[in-house]
Homo-oligomer: 169 residues x 2
DNA sequence: TCATTTCCCATGATACACCATTAGTTATCG
DNA sequence: CGATAACTAATGGTGTATCATGGGAAATGA
């Protein structure tokens, strides 16, 4: 399964329309079971994450994967109910139009404080939509963490460590 | 699995096109699950490493290996989130064209300060793309380190150490 | 009705597919 | 065995499809 990769900063017009970056569309198409050549893919935007100011886009198939994970939690457990709430009530089904654009409703745009520009960020099985400056701040924070006492080397070496010691989580 | 070996300095034209060295293409083909004779391989370029000024090319299968390693880190851990960000947002899916070339987008070329030439450097399961002068500087720096109090011998002796002590290197 | 949303068409820039050339290497054949 | 043909690799150039974006007409709905 292809992954969402890369960054793209696109304009949001007065009607709330934004182009989905073409490479992301390819991934969405692949993840939409109903999609065939000539059609436009549909997908899901989740806006429920509280501690990061961005929206998250899931292809239909990867949204299914997440739903499956949730359904493995005990029925009626507090955790499951909250996740169900965040993932289901705080999300919308989105249709890509003929020109590769979507419309983000005002209420949801406000969530991420998106006004005139949107930064699309690949995250593998999902992508994020940020207000560009917020994203850059977030990225600077990551850079700073990485530059602190060889944190980058440390992080990369975690890979080797885990390679030999743990199973897949 | 065949490995990326050797160096090659190729021209980058005004449109950002560069030839992938033919031997590297052979490795990329082998690492692309969808590739068959007659087709051109696809792969991934990662530009997220902070403390080295080069781009890194991964075959699809070795990129998968890296993704798998990351997914063994605890979900939502700081380390994992940072790695996911670096590996996914700071990377692009690349398609080799009929003539064995790729296009490196301007933004990414700037990362490595590549203008008119690119140095391809084999690194086993991945390869690096350098601005040729930067690469030569890096190589000189390595030579100097190696000449300091038998560092070279020390380094090679690490191999013996690991051979006897760990399972996987 | 008036505002908002949805659909359709237009456009400039860019990216991509396609064709051409050169040089070096290997293969073929008289 | 030497000459030439066939191939592959790297590189240059060109036309066309695609992408991101803007604007307006039709449809919707409060």
């Amino acid at each position: 399964m292809r992954r969402f990769r890369g960054e793209a900063e696109n304009k949001v017009d007065a009607k709330g329309r934004v182009s989905i970056p073409a490479p992301f569309r390819r991934v969405l198409e692949e993840g939409d079971p109903d999609w065939t050549a000539g059609l436009n893919p549909n997908f899901v935007i989740v806006y429920g994450r509280r501690n990061s100011k961005c929206l998250e886009g899931y292809s239909l198939s990867s949204m299914n994967d997440v739903d499956d994970l949730v359904s493995r939690l005990p029925r009626y457990s507090k955790e499951r109910e909250i996740l169900e709430r965040l993932l289901n009530s705080q999300s919308i089904y989105v249709q890509v139009d003929e020109n590769g654009r979507i419309v983000i409703p005002p209420r949801i745009r406000e969530r991420a404080q998106i006004t005139s520009k949107a930064m699309f960020v690949g995250m593998g099985d999902k992508f994020q939509i940020w207000e560009p400056d917020s994203y850059r701040h977030d990225m600077v924070a990551i850079d700073q963490r990485l530059s602190e006492n060889n944190f980058e080397d440390e992080i990369y070496s975690l890979l080797d460590y885990n390679e030999s010691n743990s199973e897949k989580i």
